[in-house]
């Protein structure tokens, strides 16, 4: 990773910091692209091997099932568009989680932040006048970002002022966020007379524009790619990014250098929450065109899986998120065609995560979460 060498030491001075920085750079030097890619591929291959056994146990032919999975993922333009749309929230959520994990802030609240972001975007989309034109979309996305950031900031505040571990704060708030969606759909934002808890359909000008005529592909994937590049720049080219990396590498050295953990942790959680919120906004504006109960179910865990598969490297979140999106799109088709339950995706995901974590633990990749 060539950009690792460009960590700027001139921002801070003091011998201890310089030493810590050198160790830090050395530690990261072990995590070059090729090794990270090989490791991720090996973990995925192992997981696919284990799940093949499960498919065989359920009385189906794993090869037939996997062939259906590949066809379902990339078999046609429509399937590819579907998979790209699926990947979008995972990439946006995952890149925020990756930044948090860099600073050893275990924010796993993407699920709740996505839910709240979706509510905020829906509220803007439903309450603006029909005459407001296309400005509805940026306003709704901004509201989604604010909603997600606010939800994350709430967890961060409890973490920083009361010392409750962020894993518990964010997890417990996930459940509350999901229930909040149900609450607004059974109350102010629900569609009267609908059999399912959902909001009325948004007005046409609040729908995300299509990227490819004739398919469902919306511009969300572009927003996700932009976010990935921005987070990459933030992590490797700014003082704030340096602080995050320093906190992750050595909290003691960071403290010595005057880096404030509370300030950085709060900022990175709010940022990750904002990105997750945007993911929620895109999901309601681009896929469903309305708010739906449970629309964010499982997204938060997927975001964590994507961040890990990308070895918490923002740039690598893009391929990792795409992989998961295509895997899930393929699995849904596999369920339809071969009758193998699509919940297999979670098995593959969980196993891949465990394998990657084990590899990090024994130092195959010199980097800790």
């Amino acid at each position: 990773m060539s950009e690792d060498g460009s960590v700027r030491v001139d921002e801070v001075d003091g011998g201890a910091v310089a030493t810590a920085t050198r160790h830090f750079v050395e530690a990261l030097a072990g995590a070059d692209w090729l090794r990270a890619l090989l490791l991720a591929s090996a973990a995925v291959a192992l997981a696919l091997g284990v799940t093949a056994v499960l498919i065989a146990i359920s009385g189906k032919n794993p090869l037939v099932a996997y062939a259906a999975l590949v066809r379902g993922a990339v078999g046609s333009i429509d399937r590819i568009a579907f998979a790209l749309n699926k990947s979008t929230p995972y990439i946006l959520g995952g890149v925020g989680v990756a930044l948090c994990f860099r600073a050893k802030v275990i924010n796993i609240g993407a699920e709740g932040q996505i839910a709240v972001g979706g509510i905020a975007a829906s509220w803007v989309a439903l309450s603006t006048a029909a005459s407001s034109g296309a400005s509805v979309i940026p306003a709704a996305i901004a509201a989604a970002a604010l909603g997600g950031a606010g939800w994350a900031a709430f967890a961060a505040t409890i973490r920083l002022t009361r010392g409750v571990h962020e894993v518990l704060c964010t997890l417990l708030l996930n459940f509350v966020g999901l229930l909040l969606v149900s609450e607004v759909l059974h109350g102010p934002m629900g569609e009267p007379g609908a059999g399912f808890p959902q909001s009325p359909l948004f007005k046409r000008q609040a729908w995300l524009p299509n990227l490819l005529a004739g398919t469902d592909l919306h511009i969300g994937i572009l927003i996700a790619a932009l976010a990935v590049v921005a987070c990459h720049m933030l992590l490797w080219r700014t003082t704030f990014g340096f602080r995050l990396r320093l906190l992750g590498a050595s909290p003691a050295a960071a403290a010595y250098a005057g880096v404030s953990f509370p300030r950085c942790a709060f900022a990175v959680m709010a940022l990750a929450g904002g990105l997750a919120g945007v993911a929620g906004g895109i999901e309601v504006l681009g896929v469903h065109y309305r708010l739906i109960e449970g629309f964010s179910l499982g997204f938060g865990f997927n975001a964590v899986a994507v961040a890990l598969l990308a070895s918490i490297n923002p740039m690598a979140v893009l391929p990792a998120g795409l992989f998961l999106g295509f895997l899930e799109a393929g699995a849904l088709a596999m369920q339809r065609e071969v009758g193998v339950p699509s919940s297999l995706v979670f098995v593959i995901e969980g196993l891949t995560m465990v394998f990657v974590l084990c590899a990090i633990g024994i130092g195959i990749r010199q980097q800790r979460v």
């Binding site: 997890l171 109350g187 339950p341 919940s343 593959i348 084990c358």
Partner: protein
């Protein structure tokens, strides 16, 4: 609420606290030995599944309970190998286990029964009044009219309390959680102690899952633990990593849930969704109230490696 309603409410609180207590005691063993127990949720779900499916296939509740403990232990073994042997991050490994078990149970529930989840209506474990004690007015109804696994959970609290405080094994377990290097120097094997603690804890959490599937509802549904593992984690923190205070923590959250179920019938001006949030918000509020006063086992979350001594 009148007297009878209060007695009924207290009895329900204890019943609802039972799965939490099994999970929390399992997590407590793991955490006192130095491993964060974020995977309890997955271990409980594995136990709920193993217990329900075995009981469905064999119609033998005893076999169901045995398999639920074994399923939880197997889930624990994954965490044990990853964290103790491979020094993987405790928190994220626990989360990965939760995802894995959600997927695996959902897959097997369909895959084992030809593509569709089977219809499952298992007889739930009936309450077992203790002779004489059950007739005591008030507390007899609250404490001694419970199903068998609830009594077992209380007995287990006592057993683990004695184990940790009074036995050589308990001392070793705590030593590994506080200072694994010192424990290693004194001749114990921290990696093995931690692995055993996680696997035994997993078996207990698995039984907690069986309480849900076999004692409470008599069926298995996807993701039926629904965050109870995380509430159990909160109860451990509330109980400051000690068995009996943890039991009180579980009763507190059981009480909140029991109240939640009753409040829904009271025709309050808030919706049922807001009421459903209360256990999670209560856990958050209690944890925030305790604040930094809680003292973790000193070596929790750290990896032990011989060659780093």
């Amino acid at each position: 609420m009148d007297g009878a309603a209060i007695i009924e409410f207290l009895a329900a609180s204890i019943r609802i606290a039972t799965p939490l207590l099994f999970g929390a005691l399992g997590g407590l063993l793991s955490e006192r030995a130095g491993t964060f127990a974020v995977g309890i949720e997955g271990m409980m779900l594995a136990g709920a599944f193993g217990g329900a499916v075995t009981t469905l296939l064999t119609t033998d509740v005893g076999a169901g309970l045995a398999v639920s403990a074994a399923s939880g232990a197997a889930a624990g073994l994954i965490v044990a190998v990853a964290t103790a042997k491979f020094r993987a991050d405790h928190m994220v490994t626990g989360l990965a286990l939760n995802i894995f078990v959600i997927g695996l149970t959902s897959f097997l529930l369909r895959g084992l029964f030809g593509g569709q989840p089977p219809v499952m209506q298992l007889p739930t474990l009936k309450s077992l009044p203790i002779p004489y004690l059950a007739d005591v007015p008030g507390i007899g109804r609250v404490l001694f009219h419970q199903p068998v696994l609830t009594y077992a959970a209380f007995a287990l609290t006592l057993a683990i309390s004695v184990l940790l405080a009074k036995t050589q094994t308990g001392l070793m377990l705590r030593a590994v959680g506080e200072n694994p290097e010192a424990a290693f120097t004194a001749g114990s094997n921290p990696v093995r102690v931690r692995m055993v603690a996680i696997v035994v804890g997993g078996a207990l959490a698995g039984l907690g899952g069986a309480v849900l599937s076999l004692q409470e509802v008599g069926t298995f549904t996807d993701g039926m633990t629904n965050g109870r593992g995380f509430i159990a984690l909160a109860a451990i923190i509330v109980g400051r990593w000690m068995p009996f205070p943890t039991l009180l923590g579980c009763l507190l959250f059981g009480g909140v849930t029991a109240l939640e179920l009753r409040v829904q019938g009271w025709d309050l001006p808030v919706s049922s969704y807001v009421i459903q949030m209360t256990p999670y918000l209560a856990a958050l509020a209690v944890l925030a109230g305790i604040g930094r006063g809680a003292r973790l086992p000193a070596a929790i979350g750290t990896a032990f490696a011989r060659n780093r001594l």
